[in-house]
Symmetry: C2
Subunit: 324 residues, 2 copies
């Protein structure tokens, strides 16, 4: 009997690293996690991770074979198999992750950032099945993007394509909003969980209208509270979503003018606000599109918005590489 | 003896259509042209064009075989082989150019816009030989762009990728400059032969400094005069180039954040101003790049800046399609 092929999908985060053993159909057959911050050295981290992966295998049965390791990690570079200067991980400099894995296994190890794994995941398991040209925008603490052109993820010459979270919303001077990257006015300072919070604070400062959000401190306020307030018809919270969508739509028009995708998927927390974010985004996108694109680009919610999206996305790197 | 393979490279312009018979090394073995505006119907135009192509063949010798027709045309759609609503051609609506050609020949006919033919031409005959990820920006009356990702031209889902000339330099309201496309503040209203002229007029209006350009009417002034004045150290003309480069660099930083190219090539009239345009563009590009990209992207002059660039570029569509 032929052995069933599976992939280890690994999501390395600032706090936790989670992994799952995933089959071709996206079933997670086993899963576990470890605390990223427990490991001062990446070599020790990989050894512990590899051990944990091997440990969960017997529970799945004997007739299963791992064919590769797909890893989503901040600043993951697919060309080199490295993580480069990750701001939120315990390790500094350039970490040769794929190479470190080689001490434990000779199977393929692919590393890229989480927006790219989300894009491949959408193609293999989600709403982009059968699509050749699409973009996934991940809306978390920051804004990530993964581009698929002609059925393949775009990595670029240095392995860092798709950082549109750090394109500016206007020319130098157009925005004073500081970004963690050192620039000002980056898209993610407006369109992300932290971005909408900053917009909300700005609206609370500018407006004299009442809002249930005035009772929260800057530290306390988060995007979930803004979402809840907007659902309760808080006028200022609704305005924050509208402004966020307006800026996102404006910049997505640029995305369309670059690669002319069939669809743009929104993934992550803000995308769960559905019409609240989709309506103003779509409106602004259409307003800003060149006429040849108008009415043609689908704006869709990711179908990967599950607890296990990161693990599925990471595992899909290997399936996509096999060109199944 | 094996017959030598050649391609007909055709550049359809608003006034003239020029073509050349091109070999694999980029030698133009024969050429001719016809007046686009002489033909009210595309069918009659193609018949006349095909006849002219056949007519030049005997001069090259008997041992030559045409293997395809590569065509650069405004609003050329590679996916469909059509020209769609070209503003500057005598024909309206959607013109099925490749299909019309089929009445005359069964050879491959590929159609795309001139920025895309410039990009493929750069890859086959120019400075992008051996590059897998690069972008060509054409600076003519407007601003066109062609993206190559992983060794292949990006066409997009609808065949219209790479229209960054029509991305806006800032959010709605940031610019009052009308664009021919119906939008405001498009990149090409600043960065193109007509764009720098508009910037020059703005500077002449804002400044009270003397300039040799004050003697020209709005109609008379052109980008060549601005170039000449800047070479003569006219301070306001130099400022117009600096402003143009500043805006171009700012938007090229967005391009890098999308597809992370190895190089960006500037092609066309403005690119001939060399340092005058390259220096401020490079400076602004580096200022606006995310740190992971800084110092890595080459800004280069096209090596296709010849009289025959359009014909070479068009012919390269066929060579590139053969994946030689």
């Amino acid at each position: 009997m032929e052995r069933k092929q599976v992939v280890a999908g690994i999501d390395i985060g600032g706090t936790n690293t989670v992994f799952g053993i995933v089959d071709r159909d996206g079933h997670i057959l086993a899963e576990d996690k470890l605390k990223t911050t427990d490991y001062a050295k990446p070599e020790v981290f990989v050894a512990a991770l590899y051990e944990k992966i091997i440990k969960v295998m017997p529970a799945i049965g004997n007739n299963v074979e791992i064919i590769g390791f797909g890893i989503g990690a901040p600043m993951g570079n697919i060309n080199k198999g490295t993580i480069e200067h990750p701001a939120n991980l315990p390790w500094k400099g350039i970490i040769p992750l794929a190479e470190i894995f080689k001490k434990h296994t000779n199977l393929p190890v692919l590393v890229t950032n989480d927006a790219n794994t989300a894009a491949v995941g959408e193609m293999i398991y989600g709403g982009a099945k059968g699509m050749k040209n699409f973009v996934v925008i991940t809306l978390g603490t920051g804004l990530g993007s993964g581009f698929v052109v002609d059925g393949k993820l775009v990595y670029g010459h240095d392995g860092f394509a798709g950082e549109i979270g750090h394109t500016a919303i206007g020319p130098p001077g157009a925005s004073n909003r500081d970004c963690g990257c050192g620039k000002k006015g980056c898209l993610e300072t407006y369109v992300s969980a932290t971005g909408i919070k900053r917009t909300m604070l700005k609206i609370l400062a500018d407006s004299i209208e009442p809002s249930e959000l005035r009772k929260y401190s800057t530290e306390e306020l988060d995007s979930k509270m803004i979402h809840d307030a907007a659902k309760n018809r808080d006028a200022l919270a609704i305005r924050a979503f509208e402004h966020t969508g307006k800026i996102l739509g404006f910049k997505l028009a640029d995305v369309v003018a670059h690669t002319n995708p069939e669809a743009i998927f929104l993934f992550g927390g803000l995308a769960l606000a559905k019409d609240m974010i989709f309506k103003p985004t779509k409106e602004s996108l259409e307003q800003n599109l060149l006429s040849i694109y108008k009415g043609k680009v689908k704006l869709l919610q990711s179908e990967l918005n599950t607890r296990n999206a990161a693990v599925l996305g990471a595992s899909s790197l290997i399936w996509s590489d096999k060109k199944l």
